[in-house]
Amino acid sequence: MDIQQYIASGIIEMYVMGLCSPEEEKELEQLQHQHPELQEAILQYEKEMEDKMLQNSTLPTAETDKRILKKLESLQAPVIPITSAITGKRINWLKPVAAAAVLLLGISAYFNYSLYNKNKKQEALIAASTSSPLPAGDYAVITNPSITPVAMYGVGTHTICRCTMFWDKQTGKAYIMIHHLPKSSSSRDYQLWAEVDGRTVSVGIINDEIRGRFIEVTNVPGHSVAFKVTLENAGGAQTPTIAETYLEGKI
């Protein structure tokens, strides 16, 4: 490929403005690793656009500034590591869920183990019970009938993908644990969708940077019958791009 011709083709401007198709974007991101001049040309246009747009500002009202700054200050860290939740240093909603997860992992480990070797059943039970030293109160969450676990499996070429969701129908909140999902690019987001009353509605964007922790999602429709995760442009889409479905799970 003639890289100078590629640089002059308009592809850089399209990329920076976010107008590339997913294939064009992928190609450009691969090429820029091999061609420093391509990377340099992208950076140059990014700076050019940024300067022009900073010069071309429109300021919101002082009230808007005040309101948004106050809102930003009020935001709390979106997720808390399970470890700190379990040690009880921070009191939060994750504690019972984390406990449930540990317990479920324990139960799962137990069943796997007993299948593997029935003779060692008793030892396995001991192992499972000692791996989750939980306060008695935390068991309440799994006996709570409003919590529905949803296993989500990889779709099509993404069979390796997995995540588990604990959905609280009463509060409309769900806690998602990603077991495997490819890291999304900076211009793409994973989006969670619910199937409800024959329609597919957006639940929200999933921050897939978070591994080994729960991601909280709110406003999950109460009558959802299935969920799916698709990869969309950053900020999410109005309708799911079916070809980019990564995960699916039914209730």
Binding site: G10, E13, V16, L43, Y45, M53, L72, S185
Partner: protein
Amino acid sequence: MTLNSYTEKELTEALKKHDNAAYRHLYMNYRGALYNNILQIIPDTETAADVLQEAFIQIWKNIDKYDENKGRLFTWMLKLTRNMAINQTRIKNFKVHSKNEELTNYVSVIDNKTPQLTAINHIGLRQQVHKLRKELKDVIELSYFEGLKQEEISEILKIPLGTVKSRIRMAVIELRKEFL
């Protein structure tokens, strides 16, 4: 507009730690550019201000997804903000055609230098886009301002996908010369 109290790298690091001062700095430096971009899509200042707030909340929530090896912070913020503004127009059930009409009128009003509108200075990319010849203007309207995929544009304009691609390329090259 100056960012001299932080380098981009320092700013990104502080943002990823959810440092309040860094977000304040980010907001004060970039709100004008982002708000102007939202106004290009949503002329109503109140709705645009709501989108601006939501955009900064999303920047705060998704900052871990920003990968500094893939581009500058502003480019990432702009894409996110533009997508949110476009989503807002869809939620509000703007009809594609009436929206085009409305915004075409809006731009022509600016061209006529109506005092209130020039005073609040919403000029920007969209005005430049409207100076392009029609076939280039149309593909940028549909792709950049309405967020449609290349395939969807091909269907709406009834032109081959390859033509959509080449028109977008020509349009962005011209825009760079004129504005960006």
